[in-house]
């Protein structure tokens, strides 16, 4: 089975180009699926039409989520995800946004974001970010099993 992709939810085409180029330069090939608005992100994660087929629309390992998005905002997507009763509620979410406002940062953590990154100013900084992101979330971090039952047993 191929490695699960990273889901990038970002509406700005220029940012998408830069982010995809940065990920493209990584030593390991990372599949990035890109969606442009919050409604699409929720449909994708829920497996609603047109994303019912998990063969062609696999569950991601990690979500990179912008805040300012058309339709549903990144906050609303995050809120929806953490409210789910299946194991997908544990899917790690890394905010990737241009907002450095502490109100936004705190709100993201309150809604259950795992991490909050701001979009860097230069392409080389973005390449560095992509590398750190990959090293940390796709290699070092122990991801939750999204097929485990919804209720986790508290350890003895």
């Amino acid at each position: 089975m191929p490695e699960a992709p990273v889901l990038l939810v970002e509406d700005d085409p220029a940012d998408v180009r830069l982010i995809q180029r940065a990920f493209g330069k990584l030593p390991d090939m990372i599949k990035v699926i890109r969606l442009t608005n919050g409604d699409e992100a929720v449909s994708y994660l829920a497996g609603d039409a047109p994303y019912e087929n998990r063969g062609t629309h696999p569950m991601p390992r990690v979500v990179l989520l912008d805040i300012k998005l058309p339709r549903r905002s990144g906050f609303e997507v995050l809120e929806w995800l953490r409210r789910q009763t299946t194991a997908i509620k544990r899917l790690p979410v890394v905010m990737l946004t241009s907002s450095r406002h502490s109100v936004d940062i705190n709100r993201a953590y309150d809604l259950g974001a795992n991490s909050y990154l701001t979009k860097p100013d230069t392409a080389s900084q973005l390449e560095d970010l992509a590398l750190r992101f990959q090293e940390y979330w796709l290699s070092l971090n122990e991801l939750p099993d999204l097929h485990t039952g919804p209720t986790a047993k508290a350890p003895r």
Partner: protein, 156 residues
Amino acid sequence: MTEGNLRPILLVEDDSSDANLLCRAFEKAHVLNRVIHLPSGDEALGYLAGVKEYADRTLYPLPALILLDLKLPGLTGMQLLQWKRAHENVRRIPVVVLTGDKDPQTVAAAYDLGANSYLVKRAKSSEILTMVKAIDQYWVKLNEDPLLVTGADAGG
């Protein structure tokens, strides 16, 4: 550089040889943040709550990051996560679980209680160094810290 980057890293670990290996790795990686080692969950709760000597936030500032073992004498790592989540001034401080337990149920339970990330302890010192460097690069240097509500700030 944000203010949070200079705050200490709290290492909650009861095994002294594990703690020593980690502290040495932090030194070797030239991490600028002070690493404060606490050997139990109760001690960590005291620190975060500012009890007794820990009330002195000049000496014992709220941490930038908490590295948390799960199996601890007294209050467990899971219980500390639960407590932390209910306390406004500390609940947004990122927590990276660092434990020997890789069981998917335990991983799921930690994420459910608000752990930001979950790492499995490494045995080889070279792997520990790589892990510590990645923690520093990601959480201290790249991730945006929440704005903490500290006693001093709240009091004006």
